[in-house]
Symmetry: C2
Subunit: 320 residues, 2 copies
């Protein structure tokens, strides 16, 4: 179940940016002398943890909801999501004044369930697998005739997420690398389209947990594999499988995909908390883990790192 | 033991600002739609948790170290501090290339001990009371002839800390209130001098834990009381007693001092972590706790809040 078969273009990302600007934050880019010294690179951290709903997902969701015709919008929107896309779609729908029906796995973090509820969405709980989600979402779709907005395998979503890399390159030009985590591929796909359109020399690097390495294997073999079910990674935002449209874009525009261990992810997350003094969720720490584990040689390079979100259950920190 | 008897003027704060600018960050001011909605005010959070050494203390320390003559500086500097001033003085001394001797209570948080060590300072451990600290510092002073830089009862330190409020009012003008935590009174004193010099209408609000309420009682009665020994507050940066020079300034320029419970401090700290997605230490949360506990009516007002630091031991979070 996906909702578009054609990849967006950079013009779609520019249109998306104009459409979502009134609703989203232009998030800051942080730098750290200590981390630059430690890595030998110049690192630029794009802080989507400060974004509306605490994650980049606000970009795609606002783009999708505000690109619907009034007629289509009236029936509301429906999606399935492990959390941040759900909260983002709920907020975008509330902002437009239309209903949102959200299918969520019942093992989603409490903080993410609470966020979706607080935006007034109708939640439908389901099991943890991709199949469980899609079955439940289909049932809602039949019943409500709402517009389905897939969390990543959707051109409107990919174009929206691409606005994050666009801002990063506008505010920190001449990057050698731009790094983003990959799960379904909405963020990495949008990042790759924006970055390779704005720079002829930039390399786009996907970063993934070893425990959920379907994008790494798919990219290596040229075949789209499903994710291991259920993935055991702590990075709860990175447990879904690479989308079809996303895979097409990633094969075309991404240079490398690297994987890291759970321990490396937790260590990188803690490093960001301690040194940058900001809250990021585990999924967010994967690109820095790739650097700290020396999977990618960044010495002497200018590197953009998309910190994708900051929604963490503060009662369950991974180093405890 | 304090090192000056005359309060600084706003001109001293301006001079301090020019002196420290090359070495410190001009920290950002964050705002939050959710917190504005919840409080009915417009809140402006000045993020000194992003400052060098993770706290506003860098401002006073750099001002003190770089205002020494070359001759005086050559013998190094000495201080006693529960942590952030120690790290700040160590960094400022290393930056100027002179020795730093730091007397620290042996119950200081590990993260603060490690920070001081990492800046190459010579650490002398002592007991938890004010008397223990002063005895140990005096001994070092006799031995080394270093320049003593008191953590707060010092005109150079107060002027340096005042640069934080100066930046806040430059970047968020027309504030009705500016709020800061108070312990020794370096930050609150500097804030009060800067704010009342820059605005005729602003009210300066000191914020203190109930468990370490010497500034509240001193301000109310017009008599400088020592802190309860040893104070039981979780706000480890707010355990020392109000300084003499600081008390003079605070009596003159501060409008109100409010106190809050430990539970309110922990709740406000968690609120900042969850909503602003930034790491602040418990001391830092006291002003927001005053607002959330409705000790001060901020409805319809523009309120500057100085978030003083972000050095927390991530293995020991107060809500666990």
């Amino acid at each position: 179940m996906h909702t578009s078969t054609t990849a967006p273009t950079f013009a779609d990302i520019e249109t998306a940016h104009e459409r979502v600007k009134p609703y989203i934050h232009r998030t800051p880019i942080l730098t750290s002398g200590i981390l630059n010294e430690r890595t030998g690179a110049e690192l630029f951290f794009k802080c989507e943890n400060f974004q509306k709903v605490g994650a980049f997902k606000a970009r795609g969701a606002f783009n999708a909801v505000f690109s619907l015709s009034d007629e289509a919008a009236a029936n509301g929107v429906v999606t399935h999501s492990s959390g941040n896309h759900a909260a983002a779609l709920a907020l975008a729908a509330r902002t437009r004044g239309i209903p949102a029906h959200i299918v969520m796995p019942d093992n989603s973090p409490d903080i993410k369930k609470a966020a979706v509820k607080s935006y007034g969405a109708n939640i439908i709980f389901c099991g943890p697998t991709q199949h469980d989600r899609e079955t439940a979402a289909n049932e809602v779709l039949q019943r409500t005739n709402a517009a389905f907005v897939h969390p990543y395998d959707d051109a409107r979503i990919i174009a929206g997420q691409g606005t994050c890399a666009k801002e990063t390159l506008e505010d920190a030009p001449n990057l050698d690398f731009i790094m983003a985590p990959v799960s379904g591929g909405g963020l990495l796909g949008g990042t790759a389209l924006a970055a390779t359109s704005m720079s002829k020399t930039i390399k786009v690097i996907g970063c993934e947990p070893e425990e959920a390495d379907d994008a790494f294997r798919s990219f290596r073999d040229g075949v789209r594999y499903p994710a291991i079910t259920p993935p055991r990674t702590i990075a709860d935002g990175l447990r879904t499988s690479l989308g079809e449209l996303n895979f097409l874009i990633i094969r075309e525009c991404v240079s490398e995909i690297h994987t890291v261990s759970e321990q490396a992810i937790i260590g990188a997350m803690r490093t960001v908390w301690e040194i940058l003094k900001i809250i990021i969720e585990p999924s967010c720490a994967v690109p820095l883990a790739v650097i700290l584990e020396q999977k990618l040689d960044v010495r002497g390079k200018r590197v953009g790192i998309i910190l994708s979100g900051g929604n963490v259950d503060l009662n369950k920190l991974p180093w405890q």
